[in-house]
């Protein structure tokens, strides 16, 4: 009979657990529908050499990292040293996608902070970003030899993400 009085308490605890889980999840981290799909094709001018273009098709046969960035993006600055480290490790080429940026600003930022990118594609109007489902710069994609997106990270890459997720994935993908 006494157990009856515990029912509201039990319900309350269940509610608290649900809320705790819900509140601790980042609503900005959405699962991307692009995972395990072919990376959308594009062919747009490069940042430093506007008369040359870059297309993901040219990376076929390589495991590579696509990083969406912009000079106006504060979180990108935070992420920058991690990207430089990734580039230095030579695990995979890092290609930038300079998203809705001014050419001069972007080049100035790379000159000042170091350039981790093999090259950057210049997405002036953000059209490529839409195809990749970009909604919060920076975003990072790992693309395998067949051109399939294997991993997406939204927000700045932290050293933990780099070491625990990206490095293991890169070495696994390079083996296959």
């Amino acid at each position: 009979m006494k157990a009856k009085f515990l029912i509201p308490l039990a319900l309350f605890i269940v509610l608290v657990i649900f809320l705790a889980i819900g509140l601790n999840r980042d609503p900005h981290e959405l699962p991307s529908p692009l995972i395990n799909k072919l990376a959308p094709a594009f062919d747009i001018p490069q940042l430093s050499e506007p008369n040359k273009t870059f297309s993901p098709a040219s990376m076929k046969g390589q495991v590579w990292v696509l990083n969406v960035w912009a000079s106006w993006c504060v979180a990108c600055r935070e992420e920058h040293p991690v990207l430089v480290e990734l580039a230095k490790s030579e695990m995979a080429p890092v290609i930038g996608l300079d998203y809705k940026d001014q050419r001069a600003d972007a080049l100035a930022m790379l000159a000042k902070q170091g350039n981790p990118y093999l090259l950057s594609a210049f997405d002036a109007n953000g059209r490529v970003g839409i195809d990749y489902g970009v909604y919060g710069v920076p975003e990072t994609y790992v693309i395998d030899k067949a051109g399939i997106i294997r991993f997406k990270h939204i927000g700045p890459i932290t050293p933990a993400v780099l070491n625990q997720k990206i490095y293991p994935l890169l070495s696994e993908l390079k083996k296959s």
Binding site: S32, P33, N125, G126, R127, G129, I130, G133, G136
Partner: protein, 157 residues
């Protein structure tokens, strides 16, 4: 009064903002379809705003994109697919019914059913308990006395 005026001013200025969030294009028909489609979609930057109402940069770009698709003669479903392919079901305010969203769609009704069943069981149990009690003549006299007293007190106060 001042406070009321202040609130009115605030809400009015909000209305003004909300209006210029939707840039008017040349073609009112396209604009109408754009609004009906984008009102059902979430802006991914400010997630509690619809794509129609958001003033974020991305929402602007996406509205431009949807306008282009409308001009290309795409159907509403095709446009919705275009968005879902890129941003996932999360972009839709009305999630599609599929195994992963079954709990979402059916869950509330299941909980309602459980509640109704619980209430039903409780009421039946209570009714049977009430019916089992039989009153003796003495009990009835006591009750009448109490009721009479209560009536008097009620009139006095």
């Amino acid at each position: 009064m001042k406070k009321l005026l202040f609130i009115m001013l605030c809400t009015f200025s909000l209305m003004v903002c909300a209006k210029d969030a939707v840039p008017l294009a040349e073609d009112p028909l396209i604009e109408q379809r754009l609004i009906s489609i984008s009102e059902e979609m979430r802006c991914l930057v400010c997630q509690n705003e619809s794509l129609a109402g958001s003033r974020s940069d991305l929402a602007n770009d996406l509205r431009r994109e949807i306008r282009t698709l409308i001009r290309e003669g795409k159907s509403d479903d095709q446009i919705r697919n275009f968005m879902v392919e890129r941003y996932g079901d999360f972009v839709l305010y009305r999630p599609p019914v599929k195994p992963i969203t079954w709990i979402l769609w059916i869950g509330p009704f299941v909980i309602l059913m459980i509640g109704i069943a619980g209430l039903f069981v409780y009421l039946r149990r209570r009714n049977s308990r009430v019916l089992n009690i039989t009153l003796s003549a003495e009990d009835n006299q006591k009750i009448d006395a109490l009721l009479n007293n209560a009536g008097k007190e009620g009139r006095d106060s």
